[in-house]
């Protein structure tokens, strides 16, 4: 029997009571450990791109059993929302496998991709939640919208309005959400792409994006707004209420997991199956139209492009590609560890993109220089590089992709381990603010790194 969102809401009121910490330590973590052992899932640093279909299918089954075995805790009621395996299978059977992003001539279709799929992925880009200065925001957004390789845009975060910091829960947060969406739309209009897909609410409280659902000045029905899981395998009434409103309004719901390696899911093996379980949960609970699969690393390898992160995300993606009809995104990466306009930054984009596109994902890339620092995103050349690498990847098989990914990892992973990434440059230093084109320095670097990748076997056309 397939479930509706209302069925899930009822279970949040009637499921077994479980305090949050007990759920995390006595329910979720033991279940993850048990399933990692039961399905013999072992981290293999030599295979950041998974080659073993039996392992891939075991990861999917383990993820499904994690969802049905542990359930999802509703933190408001402290009750576990439980699912039966057949209910999950019956519900995800109705996934259409494709979604239209944007409108009019700017619309693109994001479809389910399989492993080694020759079809081109949809290219998502933008500052992606990086804090952006108010005085460059429209110009920065326009520079992305002008870039023909960009299919869907993800906004940055407006950090200040005037001298006032945008604080979560304040009226300024609601105001900033409307400004961010409004300026995105103005930037798209200036670039001649008024129907470009917009995503990326950075507000913490639900009332800000809900208040910005308005076709005249805010989110359109062809845009998407997020509903994340609460770390890990948890949800709350705020997020379920967001989903209710977005569906009622008619826009797309973007569902994100929150698994990270070294956290409540344990190591890369546990993170891989938890990522699958959370992806299924975002559909079961929020009916997400677009899903995100990612497993960034925690303390010992910062960033989203470490070997462990690529291994876990690729494995989870492959398992979803083989066992569902979902269309999903992979963070390639949301935020790099290095700053823009450095070779490491471009390597951090290339390695996960090659892995994830091979494993069925659509790539999304944001900025760099983790640490919440202002304006650390490279602009449209980042997106062009992402597109070039992603498209070239569709001509690779898994084995070739694995070899190239390892060669790229060798160029930067020591700098991750040393926690000494290059600082790089801000948007204003990577681009000419009058012409909105990349600087010659960044263009030269882009060509040099592409030549290096060609030497490793990636064929650009």
């Amino acid at each position: 029997m397939s479930l509706t969102m209302r069925d899930v809401w009822a279970r949040a009121e009637t499921g077994p009571i479980c305090p949050t910490q007990k759920f995390e330590l006595k329910v979720l973590f033991p279940e993850v450990k048990k399933l990692v052992g039961k399905y013999d899932i072992k981290y293999n640093p030599e295979s950041p791109v998974p080659l073993d279909d039996k392992l891939i299918d075991r990861v999917f089954q383990a993820g499904l059993e994690l969802l049905t075995g542990a359930g999802v805790l509703c933190t408001d009621t402290e009750r576990i929302i439980q699912f039966e395996e057949q209910e999950v299978r019956d519900t995800i059977r109705f996934v259409s496998g494709e979604v239209t992003l944007g409108e009019g001539k700017d619309a693109v279709v994001m479809a389910h991709r399989g492993i080694e799929d020759r079809r081109l992925p949809v290219i998502w880009g933008g500052p992606v939640a990086v804090p952006v200065s108010e005085n460059i925001m429209i110009k920065a957004y326009e520079s992305y919208a002008r870039e023909p390789s960009l299919d869907a845009f993800w906004t940055g975060t407006l950090s200040h309005i005037g001298s006032m910091p945008v604080k979560s829960g304040s009226p300024l947060e609601m105001h900033a959400e409307k400004i961010n969406v409004g300026w995105s739309r103005e930037a798209f209009r200036r670039a001649g792409r008024p129907g470009l897909h917009l995503s990326g609410s950075s507000a913490v409280t639900p009332r800000a994006p809900i208040g910005a659902c308005n076709p005249e000045y805010g989110y359109r029905k062809s845009d998407s707004i997020h509903c994340y899981m609460v770390v890990n395998m948890k949800t709350d009434y705020d997020t379920m209420s967001r989903a209710e409103h977005y569906h009622a309004y008619g826009c797309l719901v973007w569902g994100g997991g929150t698994t990270f390696i070294g956290g409540l899911a344990g190591g890369p093996e546990g993170a891989a199956i938890t990522a699958v379980a959370e992806l299924l949960a975002t559909y079961m609970i929020y009916r997400a139209d677009i899903l995100l699969l990612w497993t960034p690393t925690a303390n010992y390898a910062p960033g989203m492009a470490s070997r462990r992160a690529i291994w876990a995300t690729s494995l989870a993606s492959s398992s979803v590609a083989r066992n569902t009809n979902f269309a999903w995104l992979n963070a390639s990466p949301y935020q790099a560890y290095a700053g823009p306009c450095t070779d490491m930054y471009l390597y951090e984009i290339a390695a996960p993109t090659i892995a994830f596109v091979t494993c069925g994902g659509h790539p999304i890339q944001g900025g760099g220089r983790q640490g919440g620092e202002l304006d650390y995103f490279g602009g449209p050349l980042d997106t062009r590089f992402l597109r070039d690498v992603a498209y070239a990847t569709t001509r690779l098989n898994r084995s070739q992709a694995n070899t190239i990914v390892k060669a790229i990892l060798a160029r930067y992973e020591d700098r991750i381990k040393a926690k000494d990434p290059p600082v790089g440059k801000r948007f204003q230093e990577c681009n000419d603010l009058d012409t909105l084109r990349p600087t010659q320095e960044y263009l030269d670097l882009y060509h040099r790194v592409k030549e290096e990748l060609s030497g490793l076997g990636l064929e650009f056309k």
Binding site: Q21, E24, L25, L28, F29, A129, P131, T157, S159, P165, V166, K167, S168, G169, E173, S202, A203, V204, T205, V230, V231, G262, G263, L264, A265, G266, G267, G270, A298, N299, Y300, A301, Q370, G371, G372, E373, K419
Partner: protein, 218 residues
């Protein structure tokens, strides 16, 4: 054969059951061992070992949190004796996640690592208002205030809190942490310190309070 202290440390690391840690701690007391030795060579040693494994990537947050529960169970057994013997904490720390932010794992981990290193820790939880921080700091007079945020839009509440505490004329060191924060940001908002993870947070707190790195309990 393992000593009673090694057994206690091992029970904290393996985190099989609180009853086992309580039983071993009581056994050590019954055998006449000093409380300070039970703490340092047993309970805290086990906690430090799991912390070190976590730092190396060989253990994960749930395991650290479970070990912290074991250590707390053992400390419950010797609590009255700690007071009787005059064993003092290294300092008092108030910790919390700032207003608007409900992320708790990193903050809890830092609190537990500080506790296992000999600090008295008062954890105010998540979504803590500026007013609540000021009220507790005024009443409790801790040596250090530790603030956590995981979102760029909740980071400003760190600055508000630090400013409010300073405005009250309260002499207290401050430290911040959380994924979007950095040393640059800490300096810009007037925080005394920044730590990127729970283990380095302990070292930084000791440095800020002028304590030698190797010290445990006074």
């Amino acid at each position: 054969m393992a000593s009673i202290f090694e057994e206690i440390a091992d029970a904290v690391v393996k985190a099989e059951s609180e009853a086992k840690v309580r039983g071993l701690t009581q056994k050590a007391l019954d055998e006449g061992h000093p409380v300070k030795k039970i703490l340092e060579d047993g309970l805290v040693k086990g906690m430090n070992e799991i912390g070190e494994r976590w730092k190396q990537g060989d253990a994960f947050i749930p395991e650290v949190l479970l070990s912290a529960e074991m250590m707390r169970a053992g400390i419950d057994v010797v609590k009255e004796l700690i007071i009787r013997d005059g064993i003092k904490p290294l300092g008092k720390v108030v910790i919390g996640t700032v207003q608007g932010d409900v992320h708790s794992i990193g903050k809890s981990l830092v609190g537990m690592m500080l506790q296992s290193s000999g600090f008295e820790v008062q954890d105010l939880g998540v979504d803590v208002t500026v007013g609540k921080f000021v009220e507790v700091v005024k009443a409790q007079k801790p040596d250090l205030l530790a603030l956590s945020a995981l979102l760029t839009t909740t980071m400003p509440a760190m600055e508000d809190t630090i400013k409010a505490v300073k405005k009250e004329g309260l002499k207290i060191k401050t430290i911040i942490g959380g994924s979007p924060t950095s040393q640059v940001y800490a300096t810009s908002i007037g925080a005394d310190g920044y730590a990127s993870d729970a283990v380095s947070a302990v070292d930084k707190v000791k440095e800020l309070l002028d304590l030698p790195p190797e010290i445990r309990f006074l």
